[in-house]
Subunit: 238 residues, 2 copies
DNA sequence: AAGGACTTGTGCCTTCGTGCACAAAGTTCA
DNA sequence: TGAACTTTGTGCACGAAGGCACAAGTCCTT
């Protein structure tokens, strides 16, 4: 896509540097499980065993890991610490990322108090909200406490903190405007919790988490299930 | 997979009844956008326009909708109300689904106060927590208030309410045990927010939402971006 | 030192998802 | 009525992802 990727086919691992998206999406899981294993004192693990702990097939796990390089030992398995290090390095977890959260309602609070951030190199560097009742409040994050800033501070906050990731936890109506301001301020990675489709330029990456969507997917399969069993009952009564 | 699907190739739409997973995952978005359009008084919309509002390509949208049947009119477009109805019907949104939420911390609170549930046929029928400070508290949901029940009530609550979907918003350590109890009580669809890999039997469907995973995926691409630009700078200095 | 047991890394094949392009069908206007 | 224009539905081709199976490499035992 970008200019520089075309003119530099020189990266060491994974010839030409293309890790499939599906693999990238699983690496964080492998990483988390490996750290848990390390805490438990496990030093070496086979792909079969690790795959089971991660809920994937062994073949898929091995193929995923092969994209990072050859960090396993045939006949033995993977060194937990080594593999964990290389995954975190590949994911960019070895350097800290500044995160700005916009919208400090219930969800925003939940995000701030989520313990999985700091340990993975994410640092919340700013909280923003538009509601006067919330602005100025002190919120306990992991490590330091933060004070909710008014929306007018957005651009300055992003610029001064050098934040690179923006999280949108506002109502749907406000999401697009917040998104535009984040992008204008220089943010190129956005995690959107608002149930709205955001339009951005190609250079910005957006990931979306929608609670209602997940529930509706579950409902679809649940309905299929009850349809099936009622049909089955009909057949058996016939 | 299941017995009944094999013996009933008689469903009307989508010969043999197989809607691709990728399509199912997008239907909720189409549905939400269509309802917004209906509220704005739009009666008819073309696939091009709807696709743009949903952030997908027109071809993909049309193919997705074709799995439900032919509900568009050539030369005109889709009737917003009709299409919205058929999608909601396919997703099982026309009948109410009972939802039990386990873990009423910050995230649990955010879920309860989320307004997107009731309007899509999801009704929160129970809140559970293990912490004595939380049990017994009244939490304002959409419509009715709910009182947080102790974990011991789980089985009874699921059975009496007939809840079909369970949401796990507990710490990771408790997730597997909660999951097992939900399944034992008869729940077959689970939405898991805890950062843990849950093992269940094949007949149970689990969907997972992991905030840290999403951030790490963003970090990966963000890192690739800065790698590229620093390499580009090197090339330009040479 | 050699053979057997074990485990990784990968080539091949199948399946799934996406995009293009066009025929079929409907509408509007003269 | 008929011709020009619009839009859906879909056949086809291509690329991404997943799974199988095995060669290559490592350790252990005798």
């Amino acid at each position: 896509m970008s200019l520089s990727r075309q003119l530099s086919p020189s990266r060491t691992r994974d010839d030409g540097r293309g890790i499939p998206d599906a693999t990238v999406a699983r690496l964080p899981v492998y990483h988390r499980v490996l750290r848990t294993l390390a805490d438990e004192g496990v030093h070496t693990i086979s792909s079969d065993h690790l795959a089971q702990s991660c809920g994937v097939s062994p073949a898929k796990l091995r193929k995923d890991l092969s994209h990072l390089g050859s960090y396993g030992t045939r006949g033995v398995g993977y060194d937990v610490a080594l593999l964990s290090y290389h995954i975190s390095r590949e994911l960019g977890l070895s350097q800290p990322w500044g995160v700005v959260i916009v919208g400090v309602g219930n969800l925003g609070h939940a995000l701030v108090s989520y313990r999985g951030f700091a340990s993975r190199g994410f640092e919340i560097v700013g909280l923003l909200d538009s509601h006067p009742d919330v602005v100025g409040k002190r919120v306990a994050a992991t490590g330091v406490d933060l004070i909710v800033q008014p929306m007018a501070q957005l651009e300055m906050l992003v610029r001064e903190s050098g934040a690179s990731i923006g999280v949108i936890a506002t109502p749907a109506e406000a999401a697009q405007k917040v998104c535009d301001r984040l992008v204008d301020a220089g943010v190129r990675s956005i995690l959107n919790f608002a149930p709205a489709v955001l339009v951005v330029s190609d250079e910005v990456e957006i990931r979306k988490v929608d609670l209602a969507v997940e529930l509706q997917i579950l409902a679809f399969h649940e309905q299929r299930r009850v349809d099936d069993s009622s049909q089955l009952a009909q057949v058996m009564n016939a």
